[in-house]
């Protein structure tokens, strides 16, 4: 409990939900088992979230790259998304979630994928090419302080700190 922002109650609840995801044989040693990504995504809190794949990828510590999560990864995720997590840690992980190519900065391609995730895949809600260009241009103008064409971690955290809604919307509670 000392390692996360969750309370004892929340950890027990998380344990219950996590073991429900496992097949019956593995439930006793739920602490060491890994749950494949497809089953994690059946959780109602993640099911409809457009960033579900990125969330699983960022928090998974599996070595084979299959994005499966152990109980500790699950707790890590819940801890970052909990109410008591600091804004710093939330923005740190938000940056990693939005960084689609995992290169440590948000360049134009990352931003494009981000906007597409936010607006959905339907035909009518997708932005056209020109609109996308302009939007990304506006974003970079505002947030890229050192004008290198990408948004790095500190610039992202600076932008996030100006928006007080971030902490309350970057939250998933079981």
């Amino acid at each position: 409990q000392e390692l996360t922002f969750l309370s004892k109650q929340e950890i027990l609840l998380a344990y219950k939900r996590f073991s429900e995801l496992l097949p019956k044989e593995q439930r006793e040693n739920a602490c060491s088992a890994r749950v494949p990504k497809s089953r994690i995504l059946t959780l109602p809190e993640l099911r409809a979230n457009p960033f579900q794949h990125r969330i699983c990828h960022v928090f998974s510590t599996s070595d084979d790259g299959d994005d499966s999560m152990s109980f500790e990864d699950f707790l890590d995720m819940l801890s970052v998304f909990s109410d008591s997590a600091t804004s710093d840690i939330k923005s740190h992980y938000a940056f990693r979630i939005f960084d689609f190519d995992d290169d440590g900065t948000l360049d134009r391609k990352d931003l494009e994928k981000l906007v597409n995730c936010l607006t959905g895949q339907g035909e009518e809600s997708r932005l056209s090419g020109a609109e996308m260009e302009q939007l990304i241009q506006n974003i970079l103008e505002e947030s890229d302080i050192d004008k290198d064409g990408t948004i790095n971690m500190s610039e992202f955290q600076h932008v996030v700190s100006r928006s007080p809604d971030f902490a309350s919307s970057f939250k998933i509670v079981l």
Partner: protein, 606 residues
């Protein structure tokens, strides 16, 4: 690899030298996986035991004791907060609302819950300190109970603990020469203490909210923060997610379009027309507010004449007493529609301006209605020849609250339920109604203002409001789930919550404080009823008590505090001047920091 290892050593060293709670917080804050954090923590603990083995001879038992106390204290605090979580009612409900509709609608329900806790606190202390002693010294009630009292608050209720008039002015003592309970002092101190505590709570929550939500050094927050930070991870319903995505994309397209549009150069004629339209609609709205006030005033003076002329308790006069509250609630319900229609006629630069102007007009309307009612109560009812004017005022407030509550339920029924039926069957273009957060919050603030005014005249008023608010919570929740759709525009939740709290504090609470102040200091309580009968003002009870205390040497310090701090103008003058000086200094510091931010900004670019 070596560099990473060295960094870890310094980290472990730093952590080992911190106190336990700081260390826990620092480890929690590290953005690493749990495995890594556990390794670091074990290393740190090893370091600490190594260090403490070196220093074990120096650790006196005092420090050990303190450490043990600190550890058990922390464990106690942890388990206490767990139990507190168990008691959190409506937790699941709020989560479901947030999941389907987002945090903006959730903020309304959280605000309602917050107001409910104010009322529960007030009810508990009033009941404990005022009503229970009164029960011990109660007089029998001769009037009969008919069902209509629930609506009108008169009749049977007049002689119960509900109203000010029933409270005795004696010092109650059940046992001869036993401890006595001075009802006058109890009344004034309970009410006063409650308002002081409310004031402090509101002030601190507002300050905290301002601190968190208004760090905005630049003029506009712009697209980037809106985009990168608005995804509400709370939403779990698929349909709601799709809807939010559609809304977000529409909004982005609109924003881009607005920026792209050439700055329309209004011709002089168009600008004049625009200003004239704004001016006309402001005149119209202020005129309606004034007309509403005049109507309320006229009706209430009529009411008083009716009441003082004859004390008939029959159905007709009871029904006549209900006319004023019904008319007030009707005005409160329908004039806002007129204002939003006016708002649609005008052309605003941004939709945000539209919302703010409409809310401002509604606030002016509600403040003027409450203001005119207070004026009527304090100047006319207090000076009238009725037997017990405070009970009259209490009854008026009771009726207003009950009728307002009924209208709120009706409004929910018509506004949301019927509108949904119309929107889905008869006129499909309209669609589902949206939950109008602004208007609902203003209704809540209005009801709470009435309750606060009513506390002095009817100590159990918060209890009635608790029942009303709980029912409103359930009804609104059910209506929301069944009838409404998620809001279309991105509503800046944090700023709005701060503005609601500010509205609650500034016109509402301070207005109530001034009304209560005038009542306690200036008005003469009625001669035949209530705890202050026979005194020249309610405050005279305190001055008399201080005079009695002067005769006892043990309590000279209380008298000294009273004369030199509370009643002396010099003290307040010095206090206000020092607060102003401190505020000015802080303002200058903020300005200086803004300049520094600009310099640093330029430095980073270069």
């Amino acid at each position: 690899f070596f560099h990473g290892f060295y960094a870890e050593e310094t980290l472990v060293g730093n952590l080992a030298s911190m106190s336990t709670s700081e260390r826990i917080k620092a480890i929690q804050k590290m953005p690493e996986t749990m495995k890594k954090k556990r390794e670091i923590r074990n290393k740190v603990l090893k370091e600490i035991t190594k260090k403490s083995r070196h220093r074990s001879t120096q650790l006196c038992c005092c420090t050990q004791c303190l450490q043990g106390i600190a550890v058990s204290f922390r464990r106690f605090g942890n388990s206490l907060s767990e139990y507190f979580h168990l008691l959190q009612l409506q937790y699941k409900t709020l989560k479901v609302i947030g999941a389907e509709f987002g945090t903006s609608v959730l903020s309304y329900f959280i605000f309602l819950k917050w107001l409910l806790t104010f009322n529960i606190f007030s009810f508990l202390i009033n009941f404990g300190f005022l009503t229970i002693p009164q029960f011990l010294a109660a007089e029998p009630n001769n009037l009969s109970f008919t069902g209509l009292e629930l609506l009108t608050g008169a009749g049977y209720f007049q002689q119960t603990v509900l109203y000010y008039g029933f409270y005795t002015n004696a010092t109650i003592s059940k046992i001869k020469n036993g401890p006595s309970y001075n009802m006058q002092l109890a009344y004034i101190f309970t009410v006063g203490l409650y308002f002081v505590i409310c004031f402090l709570i509101l002030l601190f929550s507002m300050a905290k909210s301002f601190c968190r939500n208004f760090i905005n050094p630049q003029a506009h927050s712009g697209n980037a923060s809106k985009l990168l930070c608005t995804w509400d991870f709370n939403i779990t319903n698929e349909k709601a997610v799709k809807l939010k995505q559609k809304n977000l994309s529409t909004q982005i397209k609109e924003d881009l379009f607005e920026v792209n549009r050439e700055v329309l150069s209004f011709s002089v004629r168009e600008r004049v027309v625009c200003i004239a339209v704004h001016f006309a609609s402001w005149v119209a709205s202020l005129g309606t507010a004034l007309a509403a006030c005049a109507g309320v005033y006229f009706l209430s003076t009529n009411n008083l004449k009716l009441f003082v002329k004859g004390h008939r308790n029959d159905l007709e006069s009871q029904a006549a007493m209900l006319v004023l509250p019904v008319v007030t609630s009707l005005l409160n319900a329908f004039i806002p529609f007129f204002y939003s229609w006016l708002g649609r006629l005008e052309r605003f630069h941004t939709p945000g301006q539209h919302i703010y102007v409409t809310i401002a007009r509604n606030i002016i309307l509600k403040i003027s209605i409450v203001g005119i009612l207070c004026y009527y109560w304090l100047n006319i009812v207090a000076a009238s020849e009725s037997q017990c004017w405070e009970t009259l005022v209490g009854q008026d407030i009771y009726r207003l609250i009950v009728v307002d509550f009924l209208f709120c339920l009706l409004g929910s029924f018509f506004g949301e339920f019927l509108r949904r039926i119309i929107g889905t069957t008869v006129c499909v273009n309209l669609g589902l109604p949206e939950f109008d957060i602004g208007r609902n919050v203003l209704d809540l603030i209005y009801a709470q203002t009435l309750t606060w005014i009513g506390i002095l005249f009817s100590p159990l008023m918060p209890g009635i409001q608790i029942i009303a608010f709980s029912i409103v919570f359930c009804v609104k929740k059910v209506s929301l789930m069944k009838n409404c759709q998620p809001p279309r525009k991105v509503w800046r939740t944090a700023q709005m919550t701060t503005s609601f709290m500010f509205l609650l504090f500034f016109p509402s609470f301070l207005g109530v404080l001034s009304v209560i102040g005038v009542t306690v200091w200036r008005l003469k309580p009625s001669d035949e009823c209530g705890p202050f009968r026979g005194l020249s003002s309610m405050y005279a009870a305190v001055s008399e008590w201080i005079e009695i205390l002067e005769n006892y040497t043990a309590s000279k310090w209380v008298v000294w505090i009273y004369h030199n701090l509370i009643t002396s103008e010099l003290f307040f003058f010095i206090l206000s001047t020092s607060i102003l000086i401190i505020a000015y200094l802080y303002w200058q510091i903020i300005e200086g920091r803004k300049i520094m931010i600009k310099h640093l900004h330029k430095q980073i670019i270069n």
